[in-house]
């Protein structure tokens, strides 16, 4: 007897999973067709692997100075050459990938969490709360983002972590507005009314209807924002407001080496290239995700 009831319950559980797998494989089918997105994915995965295994790949540490060897051009011993302290630029870029990716991911996750929370509050409950939250977003967006992050870092004190916090704060309104607009749309959908009509409360409606229907644009915006966050972190580093020496942050490496741009161009070329590649990679992924996740692009 118990076996038969087991049989009624189990297939559905398996089917639940398979329908999830079907959804993923359908997403993959449309994502795969997008060649630039695949290139972006490969670039980003490549950098993620480099960052994870930096310890094993890097020939030298981030601060192994060798003044005798300073400003050496690229060679088999130093693939990307050495900087003004004789440090191996290739090794520094590998460890720098850790810093940049960390800033990119963490700051975006932070902005998504805070932005979503505020966006849901503003969009779902509306009224005075909406006015207050939306005006705060407007004020934050009125500043050029780099200027605002500089101001926040100036208050918190220059460090990579404070730069991360500043970038996260600056990007909160981007997600907040996005989520708010999704909430306003989804809230009026008939399935939300139907959910109310069977006695569903606000919290359940938010978690079961509003958020799941807002996730696709958040993912897309998030991926694109990782690129800008990395760029902003590099910018702050360049201005001396982010990572501090001797951390091998790419923007910081650029600014430290800029006086050698004529005599030793490799000192700026490779950190700059690393920034460009990662940013382009995330942008390509973001565009690909937008095409694959946008319901209007589906037939």
């Amino acid at each position: 007897m118990s076996q038969t009831s087991q049989a009624t319950a189990d297939p559905t559980v398996i089917e639940d999973k398979s329908s999830f797998i079907i959804a993923i494989s359908e997403f993959w089918k449309s994502y795969r067709k997008n060649k630039p997105a695949i290139v972006g994915t490969i670039i980003v995965l490549f950098f993620i692997l480099l960052a994870i295994f930096a310890n094993f790949i890097a020939p030298q540490g981030i601060n192994d100075q060798n003044i005798a060897n300073r400003l050496q051009p690229p060679s088999p011993a130093h693939w990307f050459g050495t900087d003004d302290f004789g440090r191996d630029i290739f090794s520094r870029i590998l460890f720098g990938a850790r810093l940049s990716l960390r800033v990119g991911f963490l700051s975006v996750i932070g902005s998504i969490i805070v932005g979503t929370l505020l966006g849901v509050l503003a969009g779902y409950f509306g009224k005075a709360l909406d006015v207050v939250i939306s005006r705060v977003f407007d004020i934050l967006l009125a500043f050029p983002s780099i200027l605002l992050s500089i101001a926040i870092v100036a208050i918190l004190g220059p460090s990579l972590n404070n730069a991360l916090v500043a970038i996260a704060i600056v990007n909160v309104p981007v997600f907040g507005r996005l989520v708010r607009s999704r909430v306003l749309t989804v809230k009026e959908e008939e399935y939300v009314m139907a959910a109310r009509s069977i006695g569903m409360g606000d919290m359940r409606i938010i978690f079961h209807h509003v958020l799941p229907n807002s996730i696709a644009p958040i993912i897309v915006q998030g991926t694109l924002n990782i690129a800008t966050a990395i760029l902003d972190a590099a910018g702050l580093g360049f201005l001396g407001m982010g990572a501090q020496a001797p951390l091998p942050e790419w923007g910081k490496m650029l600014s430290d080496s800029r006086e050698y741009i004529q005599n030793a161009p490799w000192t700026v070329l490779f950190p700059g290239l690393a920034i460009v590649l990662v940013v382009v990679g995330f942008n390509l992924i973001g565009d690909g995700l937008r095409d694959a996740l946008d319901p209007r692009m589906k037939n």
Partner: protein, 329 residues
Amino acid sequence: MDETLLKVEGLQTSFFTDDGEVPAVDGIDFSVHEGEILGIVGESGCGKSVTSLSIMGLLPSPPGKIVGGHIYYKGEDISRAKESRMRKLRGNDIAMIFQEPMTSLNPVFTIGEQLMEAIRLHNHLSKKEQVERSIELLKLVGLPRAKELLAEYPHELSGGMRQRVMIAMAMSCNPKVLIADEPTTALDVTIQAQILDLMVKLNKETHTAIIMITHDLGVVAQMCHRVVVMYAGKIVEEGPVKEIFSHPNHPYTEGLIKSIPDLHGKKDNLYTIKGSVPRPGSIAKGCLFAPRCEFVMDKCRVNAPELSGSVHKSRCFLHQEQGRKEVHT
């Protein structure tokens, strides 16, 4: 059959717009008994949907607000009940299905997830029991392959199937009253008939009272026991379906019945009621139907008739006068 489940008394619902208060429902009374199918008929904008949303406590507010009257469910006034109380009632006691089955299901979850969510709302059941109950519900609404359907997404289903799923969700907690707001309007004719048959079947099997909101008198004739005809926020006629169809008292009801296409009749133009529904609140005095009425009398433009009669009620001087004459002679 006799016990009154839902009683609406003098319900007034208004919308507060920039142009001032617009009364959408203007003092209506009706009741629903256990196991009954009550039809509410009227043109677009006559207040049918607002009535149902008022009962459910789901009026978009602002701008909508119940400004007067009471709604009693089993003797309890729910017109001013707290949201937490209403949440308990919704689904458990009173449930509702909507016009658009295509958009009434969340596109990102499977049928099973949504059904089980509805079941979980009011019952504490194990996962296995939820699955069993879902399958049972899908079978109840006549869906084949119930088990496979649980894992399918709404876009994989046809409109008729989705409406069946919606009915299954509404029935998940055995409500006493089911409000169906034009459930067949968005479906094609053959599917319409199936959904109506299903609702009649559910009414017989589960004894759930149904309030059928529609603009289609054919639907009313096919399934309802009693019918309420609404015009511009007021009830103009109310009574048993057979009575209304054989002896419509109000010229509006008569017009509605005459404008049903007849399979066997002559192929002339259909009867139409001239003009359109007045904007709520635009007629200050007299009968609201007077500007469009064929039998309009002088007093119709000055005084508003009351709803009169016992079982078969109507709001028309014409009928009241005829009735009086019949009594006198």
